[in-house]
């Protein structure tokens, strides 16, 4: 009775009641944290290319039909057996010591780049990729890291095996130098920063890791396409790798070795052929494929008397034979054709039944991890930013070879001098006088002048 009155008069229990609520709230939060927070984080895994799988399903199967889970997990098992996990990368050097893949990448580099970020800063032993790259490119190299969705353009998805800015022509792999250069210079006009300040061995490790992810991704895509041709899974007998037989008896060493050998033979017959015949050779010595940059005409020098004539030629080509104006627009602002998509998007956007104007038709691709389709804009040539580098030879290669994965075509019919004229004109465009007064930025030291 007294307590009740106390409550009523607001004397005794006023505070305790308010307090009790807060204690409960605090306790709840603490319990929640303890429940969720105390389990150690699981080891990260490569993400399965569900977009490619979905595309295959949509193209090959009737509506509503799906491939069996066994099919997907089998591909996952094969890839894990071949390439390991993000923490423990492996590489299938199928031919042992003499495998040409040794020229492509080294396991030491992979181990330096893979794994969790090393907390010890002074001597890095692992984790480079996750420290520098994975927040955009994703642990799998699928271009879908945490920040990816907010970037324009999206980070590169390595799994398609296409690289834009390289010294080799279309359908050829980039050279080590190309990848290193991108890492060192970054890609201006995009979110790709420059890693010039990293030591050379770390850059080399990252280059190798990018190749590793690319090869893995290419292989995965191929497996998805290839194995869907087969009537039913499974093809590999993973039980051969087990430590114990079905009754739980341990298998002796001899048997184990034999089993492993059998398994590896299986593996090679199933997946090694494509790797050895198709993927690896492309990566070996792409330096031989480097497209030549022919000598420039003397008029390329801006002080040369023939320079203005060269510029005029370039301009005529721009508006005429070279077709530049069709996409880059009359004013060169890149507004000529604004409704194209790059190959990474087209890869799934061209699936039967998908219409970019009706989001409902590709909703399931979004669920599978595809990024929202965004049109690719032709370069605005009035800003002095060239994504593939602003050296004249860079611009030359972009015009001559085209840019892989984008609508930018190669121009086999243009002569060397014509291309140089275009390079000259394109490089002059940002600084072309339009007669309008310059946009004067406010200057903070007006008081000094």
């Amino acid at each position: 009775m007294e307590i009740l009155r106390g409550i009523k008069t607001g004397k005794l229990k006023t505070v305790r009641h308010v307090l009790l609520q807060f204690i409960c709230l605090l306790g709840l939060i603490v319990i929640l944290i303890i429940m969720t927070g105390c389990n150690p984080s699981p080891e990260p895994q490569f993400r399965f290319n569900r977009v490619a799988l979905l595309k295959q399903e949509k193209n090959d199967l009737a509506e509503g039909e799906r491939f069996s889970n066994a099919y997907q997990s089998e591909i996952g098992d094969i890839l894990t057996a071949l390439y390991g996990t993000p923490n423990e990368p492996r590489f299938p050097f199928l031919l042992g010591e003499e495998d040409p893949a040794h020229d492509v990448l080294s396991l030491n580099n992979l181990q330096l780049a893979a794994g969790p970020v090393a907390a010890d800063r002074l001597e890095k032993t692992a984790g480079l990729y996750r420290e520098h790259c994975s927040h955009c490119h994703g642990i799998t190299g699928d271009g879908a890291g945490g920040t990816a969705a907010s970037l324009e353009p999206y980070p590169r998805d390595f799994r398609l095996g296409k690289f834009k800015f390289k010294s080799t022509p279309l359908r050829r792999m980039p050279t080590n130098d190309d990848l290193t250069r991108i890492l060192k210079n970054g890609i201006p006009g995009t979110a790709m920063p420059s890693f010039r300040t990293l030591p050379d061995n770390e850059i080399a490790a990252l280059v190798d890791y990018v190749k590793y992810l690319t090869i893995r991704g290419q292989h995965e895509r191929r497996l998805i396409a290839e194995l869907s041709n087969l009537d039913n899974a499974p093809i590999l007998d993973f039980k051969l790798l087990a430590d114990a037989d079905e009754e739980g008896q341990p298998i002796d060493e001899e048997m184990k070795a034999e089993n492993t050998e059998t398994f590896e033979a299986q593996l090679y017959t199933v997946v090694g052929e494509y790797l050895a015949e198709d993927i690896i050779p492309r990566w070996v010595d792409p330096d031989d494929e480097i497209s030549e940059v022919n000598n420039a005409p003397a008029g390329f020098q801006s002080k040369h008397p023939a320079h203005s004539a060269l510029l005029q030629t370039g301009k005529d080509l721009f508006y005429g034979k070279a077709n530049c104006v069709q996409c880059h627009g009359e004013t060169g602002l890149g507004d000529g054709q604004t409704a194209n998509y790059d190959d990474w998007t087209n890869d799934w956007l061209k699936t039967i039944g998908v219409d970019v104007n009706q989001p409902a038709t590709y909703q399931d691709f979004m669920m599978a991890g595809a990024l929202h389709p965004r049109p690719i804009r032709p370069r605005n040539l009035r800003t002095p930013i060239f994504r593939g580098g602003n050296l004249p030879s860079d611009v030359y290669r972009r015009i001559a070879n085209g840019i892989e994965g984008t609508p930018m075509p190669s121009s086999p019919t243009l002569t060397t001098d014509e291309i140089w004229a275009l390079v000259s004109y394109v490089k002059s465009l940002p600084f072309e006088d339009q007669g309008s007064p310059e946009n004067e930025l406010p200057v903070n030291d007006r008081i000094v002048d």
Partner: protein
Amino acid sequence: MAPQQTNSKPSDDAKEQPAPLVYQRAMPMSRGKLAIWLFLSTEIMFFTALIGTYIVLRFGAPEGSWPTPAQVGVMEWLGAINTFVLICSSVTIVFAYESAKSDRIRAARGWLLVTTLLAFGFLGVKGIEYASKYSHGLYPQSPRSLLHDRSDVYYLSHFSLQLKQRIAELEDQKTPTDHHDPATLETLYLIQSGMLNWTENKVGVSNDPNMKRLALESFAHQIHPLADRPDIDKYLADERADLEEQQQTIAPQFSDLESKLEAAQKQISQLSDSIAKLESNRKSKPNVNGDFPPPTEIEQKNKAQLEDAEKTAKDATESISLLKQQMNPIERRLEAQSRFNQFEDGINEHFHLKLPMVIPNGNTWANTYFMLTGFHALHVVIGIFVFLILLPLELDRKRAKVMENVGLYWHFVDIVWIFLFPMIYLF
């Protein structure tokens, strides 16, 4: 405001009520009035921040580039009316307060009603102004405003994208509506081919920077003229003369080519007739082996002539199509010129098209205009709410205090407007 007023439940024991405490006051006014004064002073700081922003942005803009009221279609007389309306309402609320103080309830209510109506009138005028701004596209919007600060290539590019989008929308529209009749579509096509593409080409291909500038400026001027520009008029007139001259030179070529083509076609038909005749002649007489005799010389000659004629005809056709390609933009340009030149208020205004236009600092103007007047209008709305709450109450001497506080607030709203009106409408 003793506690028993605020949070008491009908107590079952009346003597539970404690005696109110005695206080000494710093100021000889009620707490409510003091609080209102304090509240108004915070409001002053609020508007100081907004007006400060306006001042910083306006005077931070390059010299002379702030849009004049005429350029953005601000009507001073409307603002003046609104000022008058608001001042009147300030007077009427004083009358309402005085009436309430002397217990003339009906009079008080009447005056308050008048005040409310005046406030609504103010909002109405404001609404008209906002509607006209909206209908002219004078407002910030995402992702890119219709208001551009300069007539540069970026303006042109944005214009082109907007125009394309508008055309696509209209083409998709099945039933023509009042505003979007086929004539609008035609106009848009003409703007696209006769003005936009022309200017784009001029800016891209021309080597004369001065010419480029004039082309861009005249384009922007035709869409939305800001002031009389004799230089642009001259430029357009020169261009017209030039184009007509070109037309004059090309037109005879047309007839030449056409007559050539006609002759060639005539020749072709003649020749093919004769060849057919000769051939049938020849084929009617097979020789012994069943073979036909070889073509005669005439036939071969005719055939060669036919080939020549066909080539001529083809050349002529190609030249004609080339000429047409050359002629087409010129004609479209001339058509656009003759169609659009007459509008002194610009194409945008005349056809009620919301296409991007160039008003230096137009965006900043629109931002600050809507911010200042919008927050002021919000205060008016709050005032109206309070009036509507008060109206059904007995406005007697007891309520006079509340009336006084409300009146203070309303005067404040009035004073803010007195600041805003000259800032936005007059200078």
